[in-house]
C-alpha cells in the first residue's frame, strides 16, 4: 500500500510539475508579446481607429434612427459589447500571419525544437493575442464611458469581461493559426482571413439582435463562437443588460471551441516548418 501510495504521489507530483512547465511555457510566449507592446504602442493606437469609428459614427447614427429594437438598453449600449467582440475578432483573426513570418525568420523552428509541448506553444500564441485583446478592451471601455454607455465596473463583471476577452482572442487566434498551418503562405492567408472575417462578424449578434435575423441566419449565428462572446460581453459589460443564451452556455461554448481548436492546432503547428 505504502509503495502504491508513494507511486501515486510520484505520478501526481510529476503531473503537477508537467502542468507547471506547461503554464510556464505559455506565460513565456505571452510575455514576449507584452515586451513588444511595451516597446511599441503605435499598433495599439492604429487598432483603436476602427472601433472608434464604429461606436462614434455607426453607433450614434443607428441609435438616432431607432431602427433596431434593443429592449431596455440604448442602441449604443447594445452595440458597445459587439464592437469589443469585433475588435477581438479582427485583431486575432490575422494573428496566424505572424506564424508564417516567424517560420520565414527561423523563430518558429527554434520554438519547435525546444522541449516545450506543442500545445503550450499554441496556447502561448493564443495568450499573446489576448494581450492585444485586453488593450482593445481598455480603449473601448474609455470610449464607451465618454459616450455615456452605462458600464458595469464591479469586480465580478470586470473579471468576467477579461476572461471572455481572453477566450475570444484565444479562439479566433487559434483558428487563424490553423488557417496559417494549412495555407502556409502570406498571400493565401490574407485572402482567407478577409473571407473569414466578414461572415463571422455579420452572422453574429454583434450589431443586431438574433430576433431580427431570418431563421437560416439565426441558425448560422448560433453556431458562430463570436455570438457567444458578444452575448457574454453584453451580459457582463452593460448595466441593465443580460446574456440571452446565459453566461454558463456562453463560456461553455467558448471553452469547448478553444480546447478543440488548440488540440487541432497543436497537431498542425509543426507542419508549418516542414
Amino acid at each position: 500500500m505504502t509503495s502504491l501510495a508513494r507511486g501515486g504521489r510520484r505520478i501526481a507530483s510529476a503531473s503537477a510539475a508537467s502542468t507547471g512547465w506547461f503554464i510556464s511555457d505559455v506565460a513565456a510566449i505571452a510575455e514576449v508579446e507584452v515586451l513588444k507592446l511595451r516597446r511599441d504602442w503605435t499598433e495599439l493606437l492604429t487598432r483603436a481607429v476602427q472601433p472608434t469609428l464604429w461606436l462614434l459614427v455607426f453607433g450614434q447614427v443607428f441609435g438616432r434612427i431607432r431602427a433596431i429594437p434593443t429592449g431596455s438598453v440604448s442602441y449604443l449600449e447594445f452595440l458597445a459589447p459587439g464592437i469589443l467582440a469585433q475588435s477581438v475578432l479582427f485583431t486575432a483573426i490575422f494573428y496566424g500571419i505572424a506564424i508564417i513570418w516567424e517560420r520565414d525568420l527561423g523563430i518558429l523552428q527554434k520554438l519547435l525544437v525546444s522541449p516545450a509541448s506543442r500545445g503550450a506553444l499554441v496556447l502561448g500564441k493564443a495568450a499573446s493575442a489576448s494581450v492585444r485583446g485586453f488593450s482593445q478592451t481598455i480603449i473601448i471601455y474609455v470610449l464607451a464611458a465618454v459616450l455615456g454607455v452605462r458600464l458595469r465596473f464591479d469586480v465580478g463583471a470586470l473579471l468576467g469581461v477579461s476572461f471572455a476577452v481572453f477566450l475570444g482572442s484565444a479562439v479566433f487566434s487559434t483558428l487563424s493559426l490553423i488557417v496559417a498551418c494549412l495555407v502556409k503562405t502570406r498571400e493565401r492567408f490574407m485572402g482567407i482571413g478577409q473571407v473569414l472575417t466578414m461572415p463571422l462578424f455579420f452572422a453574429s449578434n454583434a450589431i443586431y439582435p438574433l430576433d431580427l435575423m431570418p431563421s437560416w441566419l439565426q441558425a448560422v449565428s448560433r453556431a458562430n463562437p463570436l455570438s457567444y462572446l458578444v452575448d457574454a460581453l453584453r451580459g457582463l459589460m452593460i448595466a441593465g443588460s443580460h446574456a440571452t443564451f446565459g453566461l454558463p452556455l456562453d463560456f461553455a461554448v467558448e471553452i469547448s471551441a478553444l480546447v478543440l481548436l488548440v488540440t487541432l492546432a497543436a497537431k498542425l503547428y509543426p507542419t508549418v516548418a516542414r
Binding site: 510556464s24 506565460a27 514576449v32 516597446r39 525544437v113 509541448s117
Partner: protein, 274 residues
C-alpha cells in the same frame, strides 16, 4: 540498444540507420548511415539541395523520416522526440533571434522554454553573455546588433541548457570574415569547455577545413565520402584542397543546384545581415 548517458563516451552523439526522407518522388536523403562521435565538430558538406538541411531537420525532430531511424544523444528521434529536444541546441540558417527583443530577453525566453530553474536563470544568462562577448549589448534590442553579434547571441541561446549536441545550419552564411572567424573561435571554445558535439552544415570548404574534425560530403541525398579533412585531402594528392575533394566526389562545383526555397532563404539571411 546503446546506453543512454551522452557523457559516458560510449554513446555516439548521433547515429542514423538507413535514414531516408522523400518529398513525393524526390529522395532528399537516401538510406543515410552516419555515426558521429561525441565531443567533435562534425561538418555535413554539400551544395544546396544535397540533403544536408533535410538531414538536420530530421535529427532535430522538425521533419519525420520517411523510413529508417536515428538516435541523438541516445534517444530515438521517432519514439522520444521530446527527450531529443531536451538534449540538443539548434541554430537555424536564418537569423532567428527576435529582433524586437533585447539580447537578454531572447536568452530569458530560451531559458524558460528549456526549463532552466528560476534560481539559475540569471547566472546562466550572464555566463552565456560573457562567454559570447555580448555583455555590453545585452540590453540593446537585437535589430541594432551586427550579423556576427546576432549569430553569437543565437549560439548563446542554443547553449544555455548545456545540450549534448548542437546543430548549426550554415552558421556563417552572409557573415564577413572577421565575424566568421569569431564564430569559429566560439564554437571551438564550446567543444573545449562543455564537450558539446557540434554538427554543422556548410558549403564553405574553408570553414569545414578550419573547424571540423570530421566531415561527410553529401551529394543527391547520399554520403559520398567521409573522414577527417586531412585524410580526404591526402587521398587525392599532396596539394589537394577540400574544394578538390568536393569536386572529386560530387563531380561538380558548388554553385550547382539548390531549390528556390533554399536560395531564397540564404539570400534573405544575407539581406538581414546587411
Amino acid at each position: 540498444m546503446s546506453t543512454r548517458s551522452p557523457q559516458n563516451g560510449l554513446t555516439p552523439a548521433v547515429r542514423t540507420w538507413r535514414l531516408t526522407r522523400k518529398f513525393g518522388e524526390l529522395v532528399a536523403v537516401d538510406n543515410l548511415d552516419l555515426t558521429i562521435e561525441a565531443g567533435l565538430i562534425f561538418g555535413l558538406l554539400g551544395s544546396n539541395g544535397a540533403g544536408k538541411s533535410t538531414t538536420i531537420r530530421m535529427l532535430i525532430t522538425l521533419l519525420p523520416p520517411t523510413s529508417g531511424s536515428a538516435e541523438v544523444s541516445g534517444f530515438d528521434i521517432r519514439r522520444e522526440p521530446r527527450e531529443v529536444r531536451r538534449h540538443i541546441g539548434y541554430v537555424p540558417q536564418m537569423l532567428s533571434a527576435d529582433a524586437a527583443l533585447t539580447g537578454r530577453e531572447n536568452l530569458r525566453l530560451s531559458a524558460k522554454l528549456y526549463g532552466i530553474a528560476r534560481s539559475q536563470r540569471a547566472a546562466r544568462i550572464e555566463q552565456a553573455l560573457t562567454f559570447m562577448g555580448l555583455v555590453d549589448v545585452a540590453d540593446a534590442v537585437v535589430r541594432e546588433y551586427s550579423g556576427g553579434m546576432i549569430r553569437r547571441l543565437e549560439i548563446a541561446q542554443s547553449m544555455l541548457h548545456r545540450p549534448a549536441v548542437l546543430f548549426l545550419d550554415e552558421p556563417t552564411v552572409g557573415l564577413d570574415p572577421v565575424a566568421r572567424h569569431a564564430v569559429w573561435d566560439h564554437l571551438r571554445e564550446l567543444t573545449g569547455e562543455f564537450h558539446t558535439t557540434v554538427l554543422l552544415t556548410t558549403h564553405d570548404m574553408e570553414e569545414a577545413d578550419a573547424l571540423c574534425a570530421t566531415v561527410a560530403i553529401m551529394h543527391e541525398g547520399l554520403v559520398v565520402a567521409s573522414g577527417a579533412p586531412s585524410q580526404l585531402k591526402a587521398k587525392l594528392g599532396p596539394d589537394a584542397k577540400l574544394d578538390d575533394v568536393f569536386v572529386h566526389w560530387t563531380g561538380r562545383a558548388l554553385e550547382h543546384g539548390g531549390a528556390y526555397r533554399d536560395v531564397a532563404r540564404a539570400r534573405r539571411t544575407a539581406h538581414r545581415l546587411g
